[in-house]
Symmetry: D2
Subunit: 258 residues, 4 copies
């Protein structure tokens, strides 16, 4: 059995905007999934906002090793309950790859704890993604850099926590720079944010982008289902023998406050 990747798409601009439809006639999620599926180690499926539970049932998430997230104009339409469900699966060990405008998705903001602000400009300018961390599995097969001929500029300051690792830094024709590939671990889950990928341009057909996403799926998959929920360790189970001293606000066996 391969790595089970679920590509989630907002699926709006590709139906409502003629130019986006022309580039991604089957939806961006389908194009992104196709980019992964030529790898024999990866099994892909897709899910979209408009499905019941946005296509992200407990069952689906449980059988997802890595979730890829693309959203832009409808972040607020994603239900808080589903976002919390996704967050808990990340904590358990599901990998998460957040794409481009997903920097402002509910799930990314919840996992980062910061504003996730950046600067931006939609001018179809050239983006050059430099490899900062040449030994990282996510850049396997990528040379010193690759280019995206037409891209939306995303620039610093990108208000995120200090990343565990910076993988790519982008150079933009208009003069900005951006940490366009960064990794985190949250609980047992590996997270990769990848900046390039605006819906106005055919970025998900770019061979280097496809390779990066395949690598990222493999890197992010843990196969874990780790769960912890603030367990009490009673005195009789302490690794060292101790006796209770002083007063207690908790009664024996009582759960902690949450």
């Amino acid at each position: 059995m391969g790595i089970r990747a679920t590509v989630w798409g907002e699926n709006i601009h590709e139906r409502s905007n003629a130019e986006v439809k022309k580039i991604y006639p089957d939806g961006m999620h389908t194009c992104i999934a196709n980019g992964l599926s030529d790898d024999p180690e990866i099994e892909t499926r897709t899910a979209v906002l408009q499905e019941f539970e946005h296509g992200l049932s407990k069952e689906t998430l449980l059988h997802t090793d890595v979730l890829i997230w693309w959203g832009h104009c409808a972040h607020q339409e994603v239900s808080d309950e589903i976002v919390h469900r996704v967050q808990e699966r990340v904590w358990e060990g599901m990998g998460l790859i957040v794409l481009h405008s997903g920097h402002y998705s509910k799930i990314f903001k919840k996992l980062m704890g910061t504003s996730c602000s950046l600067t931006w400009r939609e001018a179809g300018e050239k983006e050059r993604l430099w490899v900062v961390n040449p030994a990282h599995p996510i850049v396997k097969g990528i040379d010193r850099y690759f280019e995206v001929e037409n891209s939306e500029m995303y620039g610093e300051p990108f208000i995120i926590p200090t990343p565990d690792e910076v993988i790519f830094i982008s150079w933009f024709e208009g003069g900005e720079v951006f940490r366009s590939g960064v990794t985190y671990r949250r609980g047992a889950g590996n997270i990769f944010y990848f900046g390039s990928g605006h819906e106005s341009y055919p970025i998900y057909y770019n061979e280097s982008v496809k390779l990066v996403l395949k690598n990222a799926v493999k890197w992010a998959a843990t196969g874990l289902r780790w769960i912890d929920n603030c367990p009490n360790i009673p005195v009789e189970k302490a690794p060292e023998k101790i006796v209770i001293k002083g007063h207690s606000v908790h009664k024996p066996g009582e759960a902690g406050f949450k």
Copy 2:
């Protein structure tokens, strides 16, 4: 003008639990504030859950350089709106010191993005806090370690993001260890989590604990009011001269999707 520190307290156990009341007759927030106020550089005030807006009006937060947070049994009673307001002030540059059971407060979980799970045991056992980072301003005046005679055990795994810096690691009589002092920056705000401090024991009277908290207030204060909200940089303001290429989903001057 000194550093303006606001000590926030849940203020419940010290009124409802006779043992806690005996230790903290004026409330834990008062005791914590008193511990800071003998430092001439720090101006303290207090706020409690039961006040209007939990005592955390926009005005109060705007004039707070560092917020100290103590809560335990009533995390769920803190309004989401106020929590979001505190989070935005941290992003702007307000320091935040989260104490002990505040690991499960809404504000800490929102800023960390993880479950913040740990293991725990209330047995009044000895805790020894070792200085891991002897050059950090938070441990100024602290020797290699200090002890808290009766403490609640908080143990690993503590499910937090990799800290920017680990300041203390605790040894517990019952056999566990815990990263009991860790720092983060989120946006422009400095955050310090300090583990020791259960309400059943007189921990906030401990001279070393008081010194650590005074140091932490000074470390966390930035005086900043930095704000950023995903600004668009239009083509004519790009640092380098460029022309628009390709199609756009945004109309000129339009705000981004949020």
Copy 3:
């Protein structure tokens, strides 16, 4: 072909000290190598200080995916040239696992850049290693903690750079704590320092220690041979077309100063 692990041993105390000889009659390196070799994915060999080039010829290092390092009383007898050779192989992508007293080896100090000081006591006390990072591949198969019945105490402050990840924190019977499992990347090479493992005790026969080392070998192996040596990018090869402006201290084609 499996992962090629070379276990390097100082090989002195096990010949000169009767008690150590009793525990490790074939040398510590042999015992450590035996602990790895029941894993079909790992091919092991050994090398010792007394061999020509300490058994670490260029050829041997080139065909080593992960080097495991055990030394204690003879750090100063390791030739600087060989240490530099090992460091360069780490930069290329060879994994390195440094054991216990190797915190003071030349190679570890060179890779860390810090004093690598710690506190210590040889009293055969109990060490309990807590898993801090339960999702990390190095702790696969390890429960919440494991114990080493007799261990040398190594305590904080351990003067190392902030680790990329902390994997284990140890609790000692005598009252100290220690970050006993930490990871780094230096260049393309993954590094794991593991604290437990004094020669006076049969620690390398401990099943949990053996499992950790097997996991660490797999985690550290990259198979890379990445090399970079401050390349000049001449004007005509700049990604963007530019013309030379101003004066130069370097002549065209000249190497940089090193």
Copy 4:
């Protein structure tokens, strides 16, 4: 008494190269020191390679809070003994600011433990330094970015350990990017590497560069003199009462192996 900053200069190109001499007639170290000295909190002095002990006697270093290092063509002429002395002072708490081509200085390489390789091009192209970390004290008074009209390109991959914090990322006219401001702590010492500053161009007269260096001096100064040298904690001084178990390779009171 102010912060005592010592500016160290290699002092070669400014005497041997007519163009460099024209820009820095009194030496680069003098220009850099002048840039600091208009700040009343900073006391500056200079030292150069050609002096006895390179001007870095034990006494001088002991009375230096922050050392600023500029070298390029003579890294190999700096004595290993002095480099080790500087490294030990950093461990004690002296701040260190390494400038531009100092990425290849002995002291920086020793503190980083990596190759410190980068890519480079001397074409006088424009460099734009973006602030990545707007709340950091080093960028106080700096807007979103500043420009250096003529600069030497230093590009990624820059082979350094993951920085504690990235402060600046540079955009280059020729198409590269570079982490041009990064911080580390090594022992008790704060380290700032700042990329911009080639001797062929008048970069140290740039007002923004001067402001960054003044901020960096204030940030790096700790006033500490912290020393630790692998102290033994004998059984009778263990925080918890224990008895010796098992065999020992160390005799009581004996120092550890180093």
